[in-house]
């Protein structure tokens, strides 16, 4: 009786785990493997593996379908927005973590409350703001909007990181005559590097993957980002399935690589804050 129970529980456990791995991984494997098949193979041999590793569809996607521009746009916008956001929130989190001043808790509460407002709801005011600034259909528009994306999350992560730096270090530096800026830049920034990396990775992933505001604020091919290009797939590729799968692979692989390299940090910060990156 006990043995049966044990076996049944093992069967249940591994069925759920196998199912979880399959639903998470199989669709991606299917997409990537389809990108190495010919159109005919995709339609007639859906279960067969690709017969050769032919990268020419990828070359074609980059050279003939403008994906070089989309990739560079995505990279440029995500990197610039992440770096500036990181600077801004590193400054704010530092004073919130290390000093007592008037309005401190108010600022912290306000910055955290931003988490509760779904990003989509601000669509019209932000759309009008970008129009009024004459920035519609520019990369700068997306950079500006993405600056605000990781606010609460970065301040959480960075504030916690600063709090681990012992007070004595700033006191000692103060006695040595170090200025406010020096204590921040020479003592604290090097010690919270891992926090900066975590916040940076999460913000970069969020920016790299963003679709909604890219759709709302740009229109031309010159400013299009990779996720946005997905919305034009049917008209772009019509019946070239191989290239369509290759293009989809190009969009998803960078995120997966970044995640694989930084999964410890990402999982930890997600678990502690319960917040999407």
């Amino acid at each position: 009786m006990n043995l049966i129970k044990k076996i049944l529980s093992k069967v249940f456990i591994y069925t759920v785990m196998l199912f979880t791995v399959t639903v998470s991984l199989f669709p991606i494997i299917w997409v990537v493997s389809s990108s190495f098949k010919t159109n005919g193979q995709i339609l007639t041999q859906p279960f067969g593996l690709p017969t050769a590793l032919d990268f020419s569809p990828y070359v074609k996607v980059f050279t003939q379908y403008n994906f070089t521009v989309y990739t560079l746009n995505s990279l440029f916008i995500a990197v610039v927005a992440t770096l500036f956001a990181l600077m801004i929130y590193a400054l704010a989190a530092y004073v919130l973590a290390k000093f007592n001043f008037k309005g401190k808790s108010l600022f912290f509460i306000l910055f955290t409350l931003t988490l509760l407002v779904p990003g989509h709801t601000k669509a019209q005011p932000i759309f009008s703001l970008i129009l009024n600034l004459n920035l519609y259909d520019t990369r700068l528009a997306l950079i500006l909007v993405y600056l605000s994306n990781g606010m609460a999350l970065s301040i959480f992560i960075l504030k916690a990181a600063y709090q681990t730096v012992p007070k004595e270090m700033s006191e000692a530096a103060l006695i040595d005559g170090a200025s406010f800026w020096q204590i921040f830049s020479r003592i604290h920034v090097p010690l919270v590097k891992s926090g900066l990396v975590t916040a940076g990775i999460l913000m970069f992933l969020g920016n790299w993957n963003e679709y909604f505001y890219a759709m709302l604020l740009t229109s031309s091919k010159a400013t299009r980002t990779l996720p946005l290009a997905l919305g034009f797939f049917t008209e772009t590729f019509s019946y070239n399935y191989t290239e369509m799968f290759a293009a989809l692979t190009i969009v998803i692989i960078p995120s997966i690589i970044i995640y694989t390299l930084a999964q410890e940090q990402i999982q930890k910060s997600v678990a502690s804050s319960g917040v999407k990156g």
Partner: protein, 290 residues
């Protein structure tokens, strides 16, 4: 002197974040609430119209269907989506062979772009070259259903794009489970409690907050769900898979800014309601985090 200088530095450090907060949060949110009571096209000044935008929304079929969809999706999210995430958390907590790998892989659908994941599903469910229908056609060669374009399948096809991907719930619950002191489990075991009893009588009450958080997160994600619909069904067939963010976007495109912001206000209110209701049901405030 030194003190005054420090104060200046402090506010200087806060300034950029405050500017972003004002420009991208405070002003937009105030704008949304005020202009939701106006007729506004963005060029002419807004004209106060009272609750007309809200009344109009509630008179539209696409909005009512959105609310109905949202109700179903919220129930599915709260019970099945969070339930599945919780089951996976309890399994991983026992650290069976391959638990780390499962946890890592489970995260992948959530780190790639939502838009890309929607596209993957759209291809996977495609009638011509999709994996699913080709698989079914092995058993039934006549099978032909374009899942995302036919009623009532479209609703379920959209649901499947997120149903099983509750890794955030799993991670939040797993963290709380791992924080339960071992002594409590040992004491229960010495008293002769079965594994199932320990799960229900000790673990579940102790992770109440994590489950509540998971439900709030997953329902608010449903309220904001846009890409998974816009890139698959576009709200169709008919209004079968309509959701409020799609109405918001189409209202902006039609330059009905008052209506758009009324839709936004409703999304914010629904989010706050979710937060309050779940916190009340789970009495989340009363339980101290250990």
């Amino acid at each position: 002197m030194r003190n005054r200088k420090t104060k200046l530095w402090i506010y200087l450090f806060l300034l950029p974040a405050i500017i972003i907060f004002l420009v991208f949060f405070l002003v937009p949110i105030i704008t949304i609430f005020i202009t939701s009571f106006t007729k506004w096209d963005g060029f002419n000044s807004p004209i106060f119209v009272g609750f007309k935008n809200f009344i109009n929304l509630f008179g539209k079929a696409e909005f009512l269907i959105s609310l109905k969809n949202l109700l179903y999706w919220s129930l599915i999210a709260a019970f099945l989506h969070v339930g599945y995430g919780a089951i996976v958390a309890f399994i991983l907590y026992r650290k069976p062979f391959g638990w780390r790998f499962t946890r890592s892989v489970f995260m992948i659908p959530n780190v790639i772009a939502v838009a890309a994941w929607a596209m993957i599903y759209r291809f996977f469910f495609n009638n011509d070259f999709g994996f699913l229908n080709n698989l079914i056609r092995i058993f039934n060669p006549e099978f032909n259903i374009p899942w995302f374009y036919n009623s009532p399948y479209a609703f379920w096809a959209v649901t499947l794009t997120w149903l099983f991907y509750s890794v955030f719930v799993t991670l939040v619950i797993l963290t709380d489970l791992m924080a339960i002191p071992d002594e409590i489990h040992e004491a229960a075991r010495i008293d002769g409690a079965s594994a199932l009893r320990i799960t229900f009588k000790i673990d579940l009450p102790m992770i109440k907050n994590a489950i509540g958080t998971g439900i709030i997160l997953s329902i608010t994600s449903r309220i904001a769900m846009f890409e998974a619909i816009a890139l698959t069904t576009r709200g169709g067939p008919g209004d079968d898979t309509m959701n409020i963010p799609l109405i918001l976007v189409s209202s902006i495109t039609d330059m009905k800014y008052g209506v758009a912001n009324a839709a936004s206000v409703i999304m914010i209110i629904l989010g706050i309601l979710t937060l309050i209701i779940v916190e009340l049901i789970f009495k989340m405030r009363k339980v101290e985090k250990f």
